[in-house]
Structures are given as C-alpha cells and as structure tokens.
C-alpha cells in the first residue's frame, strides 16, 4: 500500500497562496476563507500547523470582517455569510486569536439568521439549509454562547429533515445526503440531543455508502468521492460505528487519490487535487487511525486536543491510532 505523502501535501498547501498567477485562484476568491480553514486544519492533522504564517493568516481573517453585517465574508469586501463566519472562527480558535473578534456582534449576527421554523439562513438574503444550521450551532458552541440559542426550535427543524432511511436532507422533504447527515448529526451531538437519531437505521445507511473499490459515496447508487470519507466517517464516529466498514480498503482508496507529483488529494484517483479534498482525505485517514496523524474531532472537524481543552468533546469514537 502507498503512504500518505505528508511533506508533499504540506508543500502543496503552502503553495496555494502563491498561485496568484493562475485564473482559477481568482475565480475561487468566494471560497478563500473556507480554503484557509481547510488548509490549516489539514496541516494540524498532519502535525505541521506552523507551515503557514500565523500572523499573516490572522490578518487575512480580520480583513474579511464585514462591519455592516457583523460577520465574516469569504474575502475582503465580500458579504458576510455563515459559511465563512464559521471558518473564520475556527481559524482564529486554532490560532488562539479570538481576541481580535467582536464576539457579541458575531453572536448577534448568527442568532439573527434563525428562522421561525428553527433553521438558519446563510445570510440576510434568506437561503436556508441544514448546513447553515450546523454552522450556527458549531460557531455558537465554539464561542461559548450556546446558551443563547433556542435549542428546542433548532432540534425541532433537524428532526423534520429526518427521512425513513435514517438520514437527513438539506431541508424538510429533501433526500438524505451524507454531507447533510454530518451537519445534522454534528449539530445534534453538540446540542447533546443524539437521542433524536435513529441509530440502527442511520448506521446501516452509512455503512452501505462503501463501494467495492473501498471509496464512499454520498447517496445510494452514486459514485465514490474522497470528501465523503469525512462526511460519512464523522457521523459513524459520532455513532461509534466506524468499525462497520472496511477501514483498510477505504484507506487505500484515499491514498490512491493523492497527486504523487505535486501533492494534494483529489475527489478520486487520477483527478485534479484541491485543498477541500486534501483536508477531507486527511481527516478520513485520521478517523481511520492512520499512523502518524493527529486526532481529529469529527464533530467540529478541528484538532481533537484543542476541542478537548475547550471542554467541548463529545462521546465520539475514532479507530485506534495504528503505530505502523
């Protein structure tokens, strides 16, 4: 079996900020904040947190503050959104720099986006999705301000998104999708309300995401993709069921999607790598106990020791870290 090419991946993440001479770099500016979080978390899991300059990163995050809305945009001068606001908070917490945020204003911004149904809009333009609900719950929890959330209303919406297959969709009535399962189960875990999960049915559905080639898909009869290594595995870890799939085959699949020339992990073997799949590939490997990696907290998708120190650890269970 091939190995995880840590030095190469670290280098590819370092190079991300240096590719301003490529058009695609500028066309993805709306994802910049998320990309910084993906890169930083991947580096932490590979134990190279310092590979990116801390101060430069903090400066970037603060330059994305949208003072009109009271949240963070994805890039300087872009509008505040829950997706980028969560990433900003995650980055600042990992870098121990939360003191440069007006926490009261961010909390106000987040809470203002909850709808009467309990779900959250991503911004003031009103698109709703359980993803945004998770961003809100996660961010409030990281900021220690969960007590200001209407938990019953929030859980009430998640429960309505639960389908007969045990999974969850993006909104009421929507088909179960592994990424939406992660956000809903993650939110319930943070709110200590996992009793709302139909554990046997959902665990069965999750285990059936593994395909003969070892990779995981996000819905029945769809193709495998490295990012589901995290969406599916995180939910399985929270439900203590990671051992229900073939860890060795999934490990091989993720490793086979590495770009062995330039570093980075792709959605599947032979495709172009990117930092999104690099994080979720490395995250999946950490959950699977891959040797040499740091523990990942599957609820927050952040370094486990950090979440533990903050007193936020939930009862998830990754596979034991192997020594070789």
């Amino acid at each position: 079996m091939s190995r995880l090419l840590v030095p190469l991946h670290v280098q590819s993440i370092q190079n991300l900020g240096k590719s301003q001479d490529e058009l695609v770099y500028h066309l993805t500016a709306h994802l910049r904040m998320n990309a910084v979080y993906w890169g930083l978390t991947a580096l932490c899991i590979m134990d190279h947190k310092d590979a990116l300059d801390r101060q430069e990163m903090i400066d970037f995050v603060t330059s994305c503050w949208d003072d009109e809305a009271g949240g963070f945009g994805a890039h300087p001068d872009h509008d505040a959104h829950l997706l980028s606001t969560l990433s900003a908070i995650q980055i600042l917490i990992i870098q121990d720099a939360l003191d440069c945020v007006d926490v009261d204003r961010v909390v106000k911004f987040i809470l203002s986006l909850q709808q009467p149904s309990g779900v959250f809009a991503g911004d003031r333009f009103g698109e709703i999705d359980t993803r945004f609900l998770f961003c809100a719950v996660n961010a409030l929890s990281l900021l220690g301000r969960l007590s200001e959330l209407d938990v019953e209303k929030t859980v009430g919406y998640i429960v309505q998104c639960r389908n007969f297959d045990g999974g969850f969709g993006s909104s009421i009535g929507a088909e179960s999708h592994a990424a939406q399962v992660f956000v809903c189960v993650g939110a319930l875990a943070i709110l200590d309300r996992l009793d709302e999960v139909d554990v046997p049915t959902l665990s069965w559905w999750l285990a059936e995401r593994q395909l003969p080639n070892g990779g995981l898909n996000g819905r029945p009869e769809k193709l495998e993709d490295v990012c589901y290594s995290f969406w599916v595995l995180s939910a399985m870890s929270i439900l203590n069921k990671v051992h229900w799939i073939d860890a060795e085959k999934l490990t091989s699949f993720i490793l086979s999607a590495q770009d062995t020339d330039n570093g980075g992990i792709a959605d599947r073997p032979g495709d172009m790598p990117d930092v999104f799949h690099t994080l979720f590939g490395v995250a999946g490997l950490s959950i699977l106990g891959y040797p040499g990696l740091k523990d990942l907290d599957p609820v927050y998708c952040m370094p486990a020791d950090l979440i533990e120190r903050m007193g936020l650890r939930k009862g998830w269970k990754n596979l034991e870290r192997r020594t070789s």
Partner: protein, 458 residues
C-alpha cells in the same frame, strides 16, 4: 473540484498557459474591483447592473455579486419601473440564471437567485379583480416545472434540482394535482431503477397523500409492492429498491405482509443465492417478526435462520462483517430482553422501572452490550435515551452533558422520565470508576428526587 482529470503537463506547457491567462486575470480583477467599489459606494445604477451581468457570466459563484445585483434591482431599478418593466427585468434575470445553470447545475447561488426572481414577480398584467391579475406569476411557475424537468433529464440525481422541484410544487399559485407527481416519479423510476432520488420523492408524496386521506393507503401500498418487486427482481444488486422496500414494510406490525414479503425474497434468493440484499433484508424482516410478533412465531427457528444468513453475509459482504457480527449477537439478546421486559405484559411501573434499570446496568452498560442495546430499536425512544445517557456517562467524559440530559429527560412531561432518571441513577450508582463521589451522589439524589416528584404527580 470534482471530475476534473489530472493531465501531466510539462513545465513549459504550464508556463505558456499562465502567460496566456495573465491578460484574463488582469481583466477579471479590474472588473471585480470596479464592481466591489461601486457596491461600497452604493451605486445602484443600470450601468452597475450590467457590470454584475458581465462578471456573473464569467463566475456565477460570486455570491457577493448576486447579492449586490438584488440590491441594485430593489433600490435602483425597480423604483422607477412600471410593473410590466419589472416583469421584463425579472425575465432577463431568469434567462441569466437558466444559461448559468446549464453550465453549472450544482451552484446553489444560481438556484437561489432564481427563487428570488420568482418571489418578486409583480401582480399583473391585469388589475386586481381581473382574470389575468396573477397572469405573469402563473406563466412563470408553469415554465419552472418545464425548466426543472429539463434539468432532471440531464442529471436525474441532481439534488438541487429535486429540492427546487419540491419548492416549485409547493409555491405554484394553482397547485398541481399531487397525484401527477406519482406519475412523474414512476416515469423516472422506470427509466432507471437506480434513481433513488425519485424513490425518495415518491415516498414523500405517498406519505402526504395518505396523511390527507387522498389516497387509500392499503390499496396503493399493494401497488407499490408490485412496482418494487419488479425492481428487486430486475436489479437485485441495486440498493435503491431495497431501501424503498424497507420503508414500505415499515415497523412490521402487519404480520401477513411481513411473511408474504419474506416468502417473495426467499424466492429471489433461490435464483440469486449470493444476493447480499436478499439476505440482509431477510435478517431485518425476521427480526421484525421476533420484535412484533414474539408470541405467535417460532422465535428459536427465526433466530437460527438469522444466524445462518449473517454467517453467509460475513462472507459475501466482508466489508461490513462487523455489523453482521453485532446483529448476530443482537438477535438472541433481543429475544431475552423481550421476555424480560415486555412493556405490554408488565403493567406495574415500579417493576418495569427496576427491570429496566437492572437490565441497563447488567447487560446494557458493559462496553459492547451497551452498543448493542443502543442499536436495538425495540426500546422506545425514551428508553433508548436513558441508555444513551447512561452509556455516554460511562465513557467518562461527559459529566456536564450527563446532567443536562437528565434534566432534559425529567423536564419532559410524562411518567417515562422517571424511568429515564432511575435508569441513569442506577447506572451511576453501580459505576465506581467515574467522577468524584460527591458529584455522583448529587446526581443520584437529583434523579431520585425527580423520580419521586414524577411518581407523586401521577
């Protein structure tokens, strides 16, 4: 990035491409700066609107620009427009999104802008009271069904398109007969049995029709069983059909249906002796028989059969062997717990509470069996909750969360809470490894106190 092939490129080729891109980058950045500056200065002119069109055609994921565009329309364009001009402008915006969706069918922001346009269509062309007062809106919504069907023709699993379809169906000013959705999903399914999105939609439509009493549940279920049988026998390796079948069977209260479906699957298994889904489903339905009809079926035989099938499954589907192992332990465990704590047979609350507390501690709270009990959906949700609480406490990290759970359990409004509390309390009592003695006793006292309170209230 999804589905973009990696092609090895020489250093020279990469350099050449970068060189070629430089002018494009300069243009794109200049346009971006111009637009973001206009946005900052709250420039809501027609010229700015045209700039947003220009950049969104290059990059439809630029959400800030979609936002800005809506601000321009609301603050700069619409105020000086007649209703019919607004209507025309929204038509233009809809065409912009149609073009963008063809190239980027999975970009949320585009679908989102489309919804915004539709929700802002003015009334007209007729005045209030005229028959065509809602004419524009109706025309749009009718067209939307056509658009979304085109999108689903291209990719029948696009979940954004399916969500949009549900949105359109629920927003149309004159709702369609919901039964037409049954026809549509059936067409999609018959084109491709693997289309689980269509099966899912079908389950939602049927559930809603049954709940409203617009369709006879029993009769239409039989028709569904025929449809699904066709799918199962045509593509027995396709999980879509089996998942749907499990929904149709449901919790298994109807013994006749359960036994009939088991017989059907056994027939298929004879034809396809290696079929994982046949075996997996047989195990599940046998367990439902045990769970719901314990006094009228041969449980020993069913448990035996489950064990045999699970043994086979471990071989044909080894990736999930651990799950089959645990199911194998669960079957007899389920049987004994059914006999010990059948909630129907035991009416005496105290006795039931004690039994539950004991069984939770004695079988539930060892590491492995705790998992199994959590797994068992025989337990009512509140019993599961109690066990979840107890187990999470046992894992040793969650004293705070544990107290929260107890509090939440107790604050719910029925007798079941007292059981939850007592199970948890018993668990704490027996557990000597965790927490300080004082905390433990406090939790127990609290739980007992709540239990008594609830007991007195009954």
């Amino acid at each position: 990035m999804h589905n973009v092939k990696r092609t090895p490129q020489s250093k020279e080729a990469i350099e050449a491409r970068k060189q070629k891109e430089q002018s494009k980058i300069r243009e794109y950045l200049a346009l971006t700066d111009d637009i973001l500056n206009r946005k900052k200065s709250k420039d809501y002119s027609r010229e700015s609107l045209n700039k947003t069109t220009q950049i969104l055609q290059i990059n439809p994921e630029f959400y800030t620009v979609w936002n800005y565009r809506r601000m321009i329309l609301l603050n700069g364009i619409f105020p000086g427009c007649s209703a019919s001009e607004i209507n025309e402008q929204l038509s233009e915006d809809l065409s912009l999104t149609t073009t963008a969706l063809k190239a980027h069918p999975k970009v949320y922001w585009i679908w989102n802008h489309r919804r915004w346009c539709l929700e802002n269509v003015p009334t007209g062309p007729g005045d209030a009271g005229a028959p065509d007062h809602l004419g524009w809106r109706q025309d749009y919504w009718k067209k939307e069904m056509f658009v979304v069907e085109k999108m689903l023709d291209v990719d029948a699993r696009n979940f954004l398109a399916w969500s949009y379809r549900r949105y359109v169906l629920s927003s149309m000013p004159i709702p369609r007969n919901p039964k037409t959705e049954l026809t549509y999903t059936k067409r999609k399914i018959e084109t491709n049995f693997s289309n689980f999105s269509a099966w899912h939609q079908r389950s939602k439509v049927l559930t809603s029709l049954w709940a409203k009493g617009e369709l006879d549940e029993r009769q239409s279920k039989e028709a569904e069983f025929d449809l699904i049988k066709n799918a199962m026998f045509t593509v027995p390796e396709d999980q879509s059909a089996w998942i749907y079948h499990r929904w149709l069977v449901g919790p298994g209260h109807d013994r006749d249906i359960l036994e009939r479906e088991i017989d059907t699957i056994k027939l298929l298994l004879e034809e396809q002796p290696d079929s994982k889904w046949c075996m997996e489903s047989l195990v599940h339905y046998n367990m439902l028989l045990i769970r719901n009809h314990v006094s009228s079926v041969n449980t020993a035989e069913l448990v035996q059969e489950c064990r045999k099938l699970l043994g086979e499954l471990r071989k044909v589907d080894s990736a999930r062997r651990e799950r089959y192992n645990e199911l194998g332990i669960l079957a007899p465990c389920l049987l004994s717990s059914l006999k010990a704590t059948d909630p129907v047979q035991r009416k005496d609350l105290a006795q039931k509470r004690d039994t539950l507390a004991d069984s939770a501690v004695s079988q539930g709270l060892t590491e492995r069996e705790g998992r199994l009990l959590l797994f068992s959906d025989y337990y009512y949700p509140w019993e599961r909750r109690a066990i979840t609480v107890a187990c999470s406490y046992r894992t040793g990290r969650k004293l705070g969360a544990f107290s929260t759970c107890i509090r939440q359990s107790c604050s719910r409004n029925c007798k079941q809470n007292s059981i939850a509390a007592s199970v948890a309390a018993a668990a704490v009592l027996r557990n000597r490894n965790l927490g300080g003695l004082e905390t433990r006793e406090q939790v127990v006292r609290d739980s007992e106190h709540k239990t008594m309170e609830k007991g007195c209230a009954q």
